[in-house]
């Protein structure tokens, strides 16, 4: 049951009334129908209350906002009571609420398995991927909001453009000046080196880190943890040459680069792929210092 249901009932009883011709018998029948509708509404309200009290349902408080729709232009929270099933995730609960109670409830999601990075949200005060957050691990009511420090487009959807811009500002593509001879020859890479960059290549661009970062919140030009991690992924890849590493260090050393990080570890804490973001930023700071000493 949701806050939306009584409204729907109202709408259907209005339609009934409009199509009613105006004879006395018809009026009586209309009155009867109106009372039946009232009783139905009351019953639904009671059921909703019962469901709310029932332990096998979970209560969600979901942020709602739509710049275009009357009644949603002022942000508000809607309450949904969703039947709990074992293994239910926050995403499952949101999908249930949308498909059962209110089809306008809006959030991004696709793969359902923590690899597409679409459904990072602010759940009970922390940045989480909705699809890999178990309801059973959360305190009720479960409060679901859009990612902080990003502009809200609608409900739980935020504008990701700024995040994408930062990701693309670090020349996020492999560069090298020499390839092996021979048409079907791969570049060689040590297992150790592959292992070194492995965690950094797991980023799914969900934006949780950027949203959790105080520095990014205060400095809109800060590259942010995800973009710096992307730079790390290439700077540490031995297949790129020294000269390219040089260029990469210059990019991340700029005014809004690695030196802005104050090692608060909030990005590392929220990363759903367990990437040691802060460690990567720190390591790049050390590399940058070493690099600068070289030219002293």
């Amino acid at each position: 049951m949701s806050t939306q249901i009584p409204k729907q009932t109202e709408e259907s009883s209005e339609t009934d009334a409009e199509t009613e011709p105006a004879s006395k018998g018809d009026e009586r029948r209309a009155e009867k129908r109106r009372r039946a509708a009232e009783r139905r509404e009351q019953r639904q309200a009671e059921e909703a209350e019962k469901a709310a009290a029932d332990e096998s349902t979970v209560e969600l408080k979901v942020f709602r906002y739509d710049p275009q729709v009357e009644g949603k232009q002022e942000p508000r929270f809607d309450t949904f009571h969703v039947p709990f099933t074992k293994g239910m995730t926050v995403l499952d609960a949101l999908m249930y609420a949308r498909d059962t109670y209110d089809s306008s409830l809006t959030f991004r999601h696709s793969c359902r398995q923590a690899v597409c990075g679409s459904d990072a949200m602010f759940v009970n005060g922390g940045q989480k991927l909705a699809c890999k957050t178990q309801i059973s691990d959360l305190e009720e009511p479960v409060r679901v909001e859009p990612l902080p420090h990003a502009e809200v487009t609608k409900d739980l959807v935020v504008d990701m453009e700024h995040f994408y811009d930062q990701m693309e500002a670090v020349e996020p593509y492999f560069q090298t000046n020499e390839y092996p001879d021979g048409e079907l020859e791969e570049q060689r890479q040590d297992r150790e080196n592959r292992e070194k960059i492995k965690m950094s290549t797991r980023c799914i661009w969900c934006g949780a880190c950027m949203s959790s970062c105080n520095i990014a919140a205060g400095d809109n030009e800060y590259l942010g943890p995800a973009a710096i991690n992307k730079a790390y992924r290439f700077a540490m890849d031995e297949r790129e040459g020294e000269d390219i590493k040089q260029k990469r260090l210059e990019i991340i050393e700029q005014e809004h680069g690695v030196w802005r990080c104050q090692t608060q570890f909030s990005c590392t804490e929220v990363c759903p792929k367990d990437i040691p973001l802060t460690d990567h930023i720190q390591e790049l700071k050390r590399e940058a210092v070493k690099n600068n000493l070289k030219f002293w």
């Binding site: 739509d66 710049p67 275009q68 729709v69 074992k86 293994g87 949308r98 498909d99 059962t100 089809s103 306008s104 809006t106 959030f107 991004r108 999601h109 696709s110 793969c111 359902r112 398995q113 923590a114 690899v115 597409c116 990075g117 679409s118 890999k132 487009t153 609608k154 409900d155 959807v157 990701m160 994408y164 693309e168 020349e171 996020p172 593509y173 492999f174 390839y179 048409e183 079907l184 020859e185 791969e186 570049q187 060689r188 890479q189 040590d190 297992r191 592959r194 960059i197 492995k198 290549t201 797991r202 799914i204 661009w205 290439f234 890849d237 297949r239 790129e240």
Partner: protein, 609 residues
């Protein structure tokens, strides 16, 4: 209106590769996708990319394995192209920086996979698709290719000649999810559909929520036949509660399947006496369900996949992602206990009929990747053959669309001299219900010049959106879940005539219900209710074609098992199923499979593993 030389619809593996190839061939390219590229479902692929990279291996062996795996329903020219070009494409990915798993000598690692005669599956842990998707998107960023992300393509702009083979595609109609803007995208040289899978036709699937087969349905309604739709791969190892995929890499590395009696049933019950767990996917899926049906399943639902004996070090090195998936989505610890698995919808072997360059029968319209059927997978796809298909055929379609000379195709499209009408009578009416919105000729237009055709398609899309937003009616979600339920219950691993017919009747009902569909969210901003409602129509068209194909094909081949027909019938059925929309009256027909390769003919043999 936006205008480019080549417009690529979809930004997963095939779309990204197509866009890069078209740009390298000199075209001005744009990608239009309902998701941002890195959200595409290529990213969920786990196991790897088959490529004959080593001296002891050969593309010929890869082609042989693929033809056998296809149960001799793959077209040899397409299969050979896949196997010949996969090695150079894999090396290209490596040169673009893709972080493959490595051997001690620093070369890329390969592992065994089901149905392969050589360990030729190249991989990056158990997250090969994620690494491939991101590596290719990086190249798209590097090249500055225009991407219209979160634009849902609603329709194709195609001329309306009677014969689909005479039609021309001039572009697509897109809906900007963010703003609600509807706009034409004129494609001067070609449109490439790369919209991926159609798993949402079923309810237990490894596919993403976005995999609604949009491109296949659009092409179908514009007059391109759908090919071999009845061949759906059910992956043997998906998590029971969510359908999340557990990579074949687990079995490739030595993982073992057990039933409730603790028997290694693949051997002990004789399903695959040579290859056991590494038999082809269709074989393993049927074995698992047979175990469950005969009372040897666990909780009457699934079997166990055990990898504990591989040891923590090897698991962490090569299958780490599997540990996270089993833990996060099933609460199982793969290091200390076996993982519950059961078959789940995974892949559509069929799709938009194309030749080996990705061309469809409509001039200027191409398709590549899972949405296309070239056909390289025939009746059953081998593990590790989907990712090379994306890069090989994405590249080919991109080049061809950009105007590169590529020679004569050997695989035909449309009705050549050797087509054959089907004489199957369906007990239930199929096709268009004749009501508003789902009416015929989505692709057709009276105008013949590009701008006129595109303008008319935009107007129709506009009208459709206004209609859905303004009227009152049923929510699409109940219709979609009714379709998914009946498909999962009846058009699954095991199929029988009566239940397939019932499904066709259920689908008819769903089509009729869809006549009354409406969108209750009135917003123009990020209206996912509207997008899902439009997708549900695509799901309906695909589910129907799939079921029709399954009814008509009265044999057992590859992934298509029929209770009444327990043999592969080469005499009658070495042919592809095609379904043409035919302006709302679907028509079933056949064309022969091409078994003649470059230097040899692939003679059908009995298929045992």
């Amino acid at each position: 209106m936006y205008e480019h030389d080549v417009v690529v619809v979809g930004a997963g593996g095939a779309g990204l590769r197509a866009a890069i190839a078209a740009q390298e061939a000199g075209a001005d390219v744009a990608m239009v996708s309902k998701l941002h590229p890195v959200r595409s479902h290529t990213g969920a692929a786990e196991g790897g990319i088959n490529a004959a990279l080593r001296d002891a291996d050969s593309w010929q062996d890869h082609a042989y394995d693929t033809m056998k795996g296809s149960d001799y329903l793959g077209d040899a020219p397409a299969v050979e192209a896949l196997c010949q070009e996969s090695p150079e494409e894999v090396i290209r990915l490596e040169h673009w920086g893709m972080p493959f798993s490595r051997e001690d000598d620093g070369r890329v690692s390969q592992r065994p996979f089901g149905g392969l005669s050589f360990p030729r599956t190249t991989y990056a842990g158990a997250e090969t698709g994620h690494q491939m998707l991101h590596t290719m998107y990086e190249q798209v960023v590097k090249r500055g290719i225009t991407v219209y992300d979160e634009w849902h393509v609603m329709d194709l702009a195609v001329t309306d000649e009677d014969d689909p083979a005479e039609r021309t595609c001039h572009g697509v109609v897109g809906y900007d999810i963010q703003s609600g803007e509807i706009s034409g995208f004129r494609a001067r040289d070609g449109v490439i559909l790369a919209t991926g899978g159609m798993g949402q036709v079923f309810d237990h699937t490894t596919n993403a929520v976005a995999n609604t087969g949009d491109g296949v349905a659009m092409a179908y309604r514009a007059g391109v036949p759908m090919e071999d739709m009845e061949f759906i791969q059910f992956h043997p190892t998906t998590l029971p509660s969510t359908g999340v995929l557990i990579s074949e890499g687990v079995r490739g590395e030595g993982g073992i399947l057990y039933n409730s009696e603790g028997e290694r049933f693949m051997f002990e019950h004789g399903y695959a006496n040579n290859d056991g767990e590494l038999a082809s996917r269709d074989v393993v899926s049927r074995a698992e369900l047979t175990e469950v049906n005969e009372g040897r399943g666990i909780e009457d639902e699934y079997v166990h996949l055990d990898m504990r004996h591989l040891g923590e070090e090897r698991i962490l090195d090569r299958l780490e992602n599997i540990l996270h998936l089993a833990e996060d989505f099933e609460g199982a610890d793969g290091l200390t206990e076996p993982m519950p698995v059961k078959p789940g919808q995974h892949y559509a072997m069929g799709g938009i009929e194309t030749n080996e360059f990705g061309e469809t029968v409509i001039d200027g319209l191409y398709a590549a990747g899972e949405c296309a059927c070239a056909s390289v997978h025939g009746a059953n796809r081998l593990g590790g053959n989907a990712l090379p298909e994306l890069i090989v055929f994405g590249k080919r379609a991109g080049r061809h669309a950009a105007g590169e000379e590529m020679g004569e195709a050997e695989v035909t499209t449309g009705r050549s001299s050797d087509w054959e009408p089907a004489d199957y009578e369906f007990g239930v009416e199929v096709g268009d219900t004749g009501g508003s919105g789902t009416a015929a000729a989505d692709g057709g237009a009276v105008a013949t010049d590009a701008e006129g055709v595109l303008g008319a398609a935009v107007d129709r899309a506009q009208e459709r959106v206004e209609e859905l937003l303004s009227r009152k009616g049923r929510n699409h979600a109940e219709i979609r879940s009714a379709v998914q339920e009946t498909m999962t219950d009846n058009v699954n691993v095991f199929r029988e005539e009566g239940r397939l017919e019932e499904t066709l009747a259920d689908l008819r009902e769903a089509r009729e219900a869809y006549e009354e569909v409406a969108v209750s969210d009135p917003s123009r901003t990020f209206n996912t209710d509207l997008i899902h409602t439009i997708e549900t129509r695509n799901i309906l068209d695909l589910a129907e074609a799939l079921t029709m194909g399954a009814l008509a094909r009265e044999e057992f081949r590859g992934a298509h098992w029929r209770k009444e027909h327990q043999e592969r019938k080469d005499e009658n059925w070495l042919k592809h199923t095609l379904i043409s929309w035919n302006d709302g009256e679907p028509e079933l027909w056949y064309k022969p499979v091409v078994l003649e390769g470059e230097n040899k003919t692939y003679e059908p043999k009995s298929r045992s593993y």
